[in-house]
Amino acid sequence: QQQVKQSPQSLIVQKGGISIINCAYENTAFDYFPWYQQFPGKGPALLIAIRPDVSEKKEGRFTISFNKSAKQFSLHIMDSQPGDSATYFCAASKTFSGGYNKLIFGAGTRLAVHP
């Protein structure tokens, strides 16, 4: 059972355009929603994260939009640059009793920004 569904699988955007990646989750107990960026040969690196008590978080050109009622969240990359070309993963986690948690990842979106 895939608890976090990510789309699209791949995305091509022109330089300066807006990249939008969407994720949907099923478990309403999730309380942390990060986005990770991965370059070839490297591990995923945290890009930006949000908690469900806010609807939007912006850091530079990167924005997370969060819709709790629809159980969806999305990553928007404004003014996309060729250097943004990477694989992006959404994820979600919930805090279990005992104080531990684990990230549930989406399948990833391969973004290519063309000059």
């Binding site: 040969g41 591990g43 990230l103």
Partner: protein, 116 residues
């Protein structure tokens, strides 16, 4: 600050052989996680150590996988005997605290395992 280090970066073995992956977390990080990404699919949780103790091993596929964390420092993940479906990229991650919002996960570059 040195990041999470994984060794080897690549491993190609035959079905039935044994492979041991190693992870050195960031110094001082009590929490160590193993994840795996099979070709084109999601990154899946395998297990979580807090210091030397296994906090959650619910993601371990079967008893062919054995993870250890000696003295709460580095960790090893052994696959014995390896099967074709074990191929994928194995990631190790570490964090200082359990709560991810205050203490995000830092991932290593992964070990690409190919079982032929």
């Amino acid at each position: 600050e040195a990041g999470v280090t994984q060794f080897p970066s690549h491993s190609v073995i035959e079905k039935g052989q044994t492979v041991t992956l190693r992870c050195d977390p960031i110094s001082g990080h009590d929490n160590l996680y193993w994840y795996r990404r099979v070709m084109g699919k999601e990154i899946k949780f395998l297990l979580h150590f807090v210091k030397e103790s296994k906090q959650d091993e619910s993601g371990m596929p079967n008893n062919r996988f054995l993870a250890e964390r000696t003295g709460g420092t580095y960790s090893t993940l052994k696959v014995q005997p390896a099967e074709l479906e074990d191929s994928g990229v194995y990631f190790c991650a570490s964090s200082q605290e359990i709560q991810p919002y205050n203490s995000p996960l830092h991932f290593g570059n992964g070990t690409r395992l190919t079982v032929t």
